[in-house]
């Protein structure tokens, strides 16, 4: 079972994780879920991920389109918009800053 702290941490950075995955190229629902699970986000439910995608789409960070699939009906692929890419860049900077700060904090012995 994923510890609560880890679970909350992952939830808090879900947006950035999704942006990061899509920053590497467009992806569809199941593939996104898998990529997140492989990265340790397997404790998150489909609804949370889907809700995040819906919100990002409504915010204009993500766009979607149907793409033909060789093994079935067309799939809905998500991709970053220019605003999404901008958000990703800013998120990367915030993340780096946060990691640096946390590293400093965690050096302190109790």
């Amino acid at each position: 079972m994923v510890p609560v702290l880890e679970s909350q941490l992952r939830k808090g950075i879900l947006d950035l994780a999704v942006l990061g995955i899509l920053g590497a190229g467009e992806s569809y629902g199941y593939e996104l879920n898998q990529a997140l699970a492989d990265a340790g986000f397997d404790g998150l439910g489909d609804a949370t991920i889907y809700g995040t995608m819906r919100r990002m789409e409504q915010a204009g960070w993500v766009t979607s389109r149907l793409v033909a699939s060789s093994d079935g009906p067309a799939r809905k692929y998500y991709d970053l918009t220019p605003d999404g890419r901008s958000e990703l860049r800013e998120g990367q900077q915030r993340w780096e800053s946060l990691v640096t700060s946390m590293r400093q904090l965690l050096k302190v012995k109790p």
Partner: protein, 298 residues
């Protein structure tokens, strides 16, 4: 001929699941809600889902899924039913009123039952209310799905005990039975539309059972009067044209014309429960209320 790409085929069970999730987005603009429901149905279908029961198994109950979805969408917690849209309000309210009447009658009858069958006096203890209900009230009438089924009514209301109640009234055989644990439940099996409604006096298990049966095919929930676990224990009737009290509460109470049309809170509602041995027919019909000044009417 269009060469537009076709999305996955959404089967009825999956569409129903998405629709039920959409009910908990009722505080959102209709366009957002409709788009989300349609998109969710496609997403589930794209993931290979075909059956409602499988969706329940994999994703949880629609309410639970919706709660997570809302969190992901930053929409805040699920609003109470009266803050949700998407229900035909006149039908909703009219049905709610009838349900209140029926519920009241049923409760009165239940209270008069022998102790062995009476959930109010038999000492049956349960661990809590059914899912989706904050408290167990007098009667909960539950329905698995549609807001309207074959022209009849299903709806949600808050009765005079401030208990959320879902109701489906249908013109089908009606039975009351107890389960093995002695917890009383009741139901309106609706074979034709493959749905069921019932009322719960005290149970935190019925909901699970109902979900497990849902969507209920005709063979899965047909009640057998000979089955000892399906014990009909009471009969009662509402005479057509007879006057029954209707206690308007909450936002319903702020509809003056509705109150007037009901005679200041008491209205003539034609409904019948015809006893037929251990089986009943339930009919609710000819509903006409003045809802024109009701602020919650859409």
């Amino acid at each position: 001929m269009s060469d537009a790409l076709q999305g996955p085929i959404v089967r009825p069970g999956v569409a129903e699941y998405a629709k039920r999730v959409g009910r908990y987005l009722g505080d959102q603009p209709k366009a957002v809600r409709d788009e989300t429901v349609a998109d969710l149905a496609n997403r589930l279908a794209e993931s290979g889902e075909k059956e409602f029961a499988v969706c329940i198994e994999k994703y949880g109950k629609p309410r639970a899924y919706a709660a997570e979805l809302r969190e992901g969408m930053d929409l805040g917690p699920t609003p109470p039913w009266w803050r949700r849209r998407g229900t035909a309000m006149p039908v909703f309210i009219a049905g709610a009123l009838v349900a209140a009447v029926i519920a009241g009658v049923v409760v009165d009858r239940v209270r008069q039952l022998p102790d062995d069958f009476n959930p109010f006096t038999s000492g049956i203890s349960t661990s809590g209310p059914p899912d989706r209900f904050d408290t167990i009230g007098s009667v909960l009438v539950v329905t698995p799905g549609s807001e309207t089924v074959d022209g009849y009514f299903s709806f949600v209301l808050t009765n005079s005990s401030d208990v959320e109640v879902e109701v489906l009234s249908i013109e089908v055989p009606f039975m009351i039975w107890t389960d093995d644990g002695g917890i009383m439940v009741g139901g309106f099996p609706d074979v034709a539309s493959e749905s069921i409604a019932g009322f719960v006096a005290r149970s935190d298990e019925l909901w699970q059972e109902r979900i497990a049966l849902d969507p209920m095919g005709p063979d899965e929930f047909r009640l057998d009067p000979a089955d000892p676990t399906h014990t009909a224990f009471e009969s009662f009737s509402l005479a057509p044209g007879e006057t029954y009290g209707v206690h308007l509460t909450g936002e319903l109470a702020s509809c003056p014309r509705l109150s007037e049309s009901l005679g200041g809170g008491v209205g003539a509602i034609r409904a019948t429960f015809t006893a037929r041995g251990r089986q009943f027919d339930a009919r609710v019909y000819d509903l006409s209320f003045d809802l024109s000044d009701c602020p919650i009417t859409e």
